[in-house]
């Protein structure tokens, strides 16, 4: 509490409302962390995640970016692992390990960007659908249902073909096709929060829609948004891999999905070049699993419905 008041004048006085809210938030965050630490699968996921993110950030130090240039490739095409190339080479003679490290950056970047887009749409639609009763909310409900039912990959494919191949477009397409589940969950929680007495009080005191949604509903649904974000990153990285495998990714950058695409197209399977197919897939599995485990653990802690069990 005292730390919060650092900016306040030295004269003793009641802590401001903001300070109380901030202290409370910090306290609940540390409670969540204490519970999170007790989950073995959650901590495993977190450890894996930190390692992968560090490796991706340090890629420029670990592997020279020149290794990505096809024209400067030094190895033989599709040669098995040797001491110079710990994970062998691709069809152009580039080191698979270099591609893997640099690919992590693209896969994670697109995954995070897509998640951001997806969460913004999902949260906005979910809160509005739960807050506004009447035809507006009904329409948003329908809209969510549509996106929930329409199969995501065919939709993503037509969108990606029309928009063209770039990193941002891939993220946009994934974001636009993956928000509906989040909106559903946020909407349900908004409905639950809206019926609580203090929101009624706020309404009676003349709080507008914006004030209610931003000051009362959003803080109350934000734990769920947090848990859902980690689960959405997992989904987004899987979707990025799939779209890149289908050849809809950015042709100029290497991601784990585009590596699998090249490996499949050059027939790495029939030539027995396992070092080109197994590692990118394994990376995807490990990262997606890490995000899923973290997300499930957070959900167990933060979702009031799951807590009771």
């Amino acid at each position: 509490m005292n730390a919060d008041l650092g900016a306040q004048p030295a004269v003793p006085r009641a802590p401001s409302r903001r300070a109380i809210a901030r202290a409370r938030r910090r306290e609940s965050a540390s409670r969540v962390w204490r519970e999170f630490r007790r989950s073995r699968s959650g901590m495993f996921g977190l450890a894996v995640l930190i390692t992968v993110v560090l490796l991706a950030l340090l890629a420029p130090l670990l592997a020279d970016a020149q290794g990505l240039d096809v024209t400067q490739a030094t190895g033989d095409p599709l040669s098995p692992p040797t001491s110079g190339y710990p994970l062998g080479t691709d069809e152009a003679g580039r080191s698979v390990l270099t591609l893997l490290l640099w690919g992590a950056r693209i896969s994670l970047f697109v995954g995070f960007l897509a998640t951001l887009i997806s969460m913004v749409i999902g949260t906005l639609v979910g809160i509005c659908a739960g807050h506004f009763r009447g035809w507006g909310g009904g329409l948003l409900d329908r809209f969510t249902d549509w996106f929930l039912v329409i199969p995501y990959l065919p939709l993503a494919i037509v969108l990606a073909t029309v928009l063209g191949r770039s990193l941002f477009n891939v993220a946009l397409v994934i974001g636009v096709t993956s928000w509906a589940g989040t909106a559903r969950i946020i909407r349900a929680q908004t409905l639950a929060v809206s019926s609580r007495p203090y929101l009624e009080r706020a309404r009676v005191l003349g709080a507008g829609n914006w004030h209610q949604m931003s000051r009362h509903i959003l803080p109350n649904v934000s734990p769920l948004i947090f848990a859902n974000t980690t689960l959405t990153v997992a989904v987004a990285i899987l979707a990025e891999t799939t779209l890149s495998f289908l050849g809809l990714g950015d042709p100029l950058s290497v991601s784990w999905g585009s590596m699998l695409d090249s490996a499949f197209t050059v027939g790495a399977l029939s030539t027995g070049s396992w070092w080109y197919i197994v590692p990118p897939g394994l990376c995807v599995v490990v990262v997606v699993l890490a995000f899923t485990l973290i997300g499930r653990t957070l959900e167990q802690i933060l979702n009031p419905r799951l807590r009771e069990r």
């Binding site: 329908r142 289908l246 999905g257």
Partner: protein, 348 residues
């Protein structure tokens, strides 16, 4: 997006949504049908505008400027109503849809409708058997791990299915192909590397059927394994939701053995909400079929999608999007109606 592994909120939603207004069976059916029609209308409108924002002249896009005389381009333009205002274009678009006129495929130089009709059966077979196996196995695993939550079986099952869930389906397919078709080291491959039938085998004969099963084994296994997690985890959390209920205590108090309580009381109730989720999942299974068919060269709609987007063949892609969407919407409607019959609570 592939559904959240734990989806109790969605389960509740479905029940609440149905319960809110209009009591009575007929209005429930009517409401579900109307909702599906609404989704369908959205897909149609979306598809219409997507088609309009494509760069270039749509008529030329449809024919791709080649080997088509001007009169034919004009005829196409007229049949798509491109000389009319937007509302007229939309009517023309609807008329074309109803008559199955989806344009000409660039790649195959055939009407899109015919190309799609030719390739639909392998996909139905793959998605159908894959879903069936994933459902049966997934529900059984889910029941067993949910009933003994936190036990060793539960931990192993949840861990395994989550790992499978984290795999890109096509990569799982590639791994199975490498292990069982190409062969590893001294172990020879025992399954075919692709396609649906061996040359020279009569399709209708017993041998033909066995040959088909032999070809389908790996792709179906891939699909079933990749989507096992959804079914297992949904069933698991649905059963866990039931465990605290009073009627189970009553059943135990009557002296029923544990297995009977589970089989006759808990499971039937826990199964109910999974019906709608199985149908919702179908959208993801269909998505999975696209890449799995590509990896196993199964001549269905999925491989067709891959071929179309590599060109890219816009008319064919749009036709495929329509067919996939209509199929999933129809399956969801069917599941909702079945759910309504099974669980009277959502009707009233």
């Amino acid at each position: 997006m592939p559904g959240l592994p734990d989806a109790p909120v969605a389960v509740d939603e479905a029940a609440v949504r149905g319960r809110r207004r209009f009591p009575g069976t007929d209005s429930y059916v009517l409401r579900r049908v109307l909702a599906s029609v609404g989704t369908l209308a959205f897909v149609l409108v979306f598809n219409f505008f997507l088609f309009r924002i494509l760069p270039g002249d749509p008529a030329k896009n449809l024919t791709r400027n080649r080997q088509i005389p001007q009169e034919q381009v004009d005829a196409l333009r007229e049949s798509f109503g491109l000389d009319q205002p937007l509302a007229g274009q939309f009517l023309a678009y609807l008329r074309n849809l109803v008559t199955g006129e989806l344009g000409i495929s660039y790649k195959f130089r055939q009407p899109v409708f015919e190309v799609i009709a030719d390739r639909i059966w392998p996909t139905l077979l793959l998605v159908g058997t894959g879903t069936l196996i994933a459902t049966v196995v997934g529900l059984r695993l889910g029941i067993r791990s949910g009933w003994n939550r936190g036990g060793r079986f539960d931990k192993v099952t949840t861990g395994t299915t989550l790992t499978l869930y984290s795999m890109p389906e096509f990569w799982l397919g590639l791994m199975l192909l490498a292990l069982f078709s190409v062969g590893v080291g001294v172990f020879p491959g025992i399954f075919p590397t692709g396609g649906l039938r061996s040359p020279g085998v009569e399709p209708g004969s017993l041998e033909g059927v066995l040959d088909l099963l032999w070809h389908l084994a790996l792709p179906v296994a891939t699909l079933a394994l990749a989507y096992l997690a959804e079914y297992t985890l949904v069933m698991r959390s649905s059963l866990i939701d039931e465990i605290g209920e009073d009627y189970l205590t009553t059943a135990r108090a009557k002296g029923l053995p544990d297995a009977e309580v589970r089989r006759r009381h808990a499971v039937p109730n826990a199964l109910l909400p999974t019906t709608t989720l199985i149908a919702l999942n179908l959208g993801f299974v269909v998505s999975g079929a696209i890449t799995i068919e590509t990896v196993f060269s199964i001549p269905g709609l999925g491989l067709l999608t891959y071929e179309a987007l590599r060109v890219p063949d816009f008319p064919l892609l749009q036709g495929l999007f329509l067919v996939f969407s209509v199929g999933v919407i129809a399956a969801n409607l069917a599941a909702d109606l079945i759910y309504g019959r099974l669980d009277p609570r959502v009707r009233g």
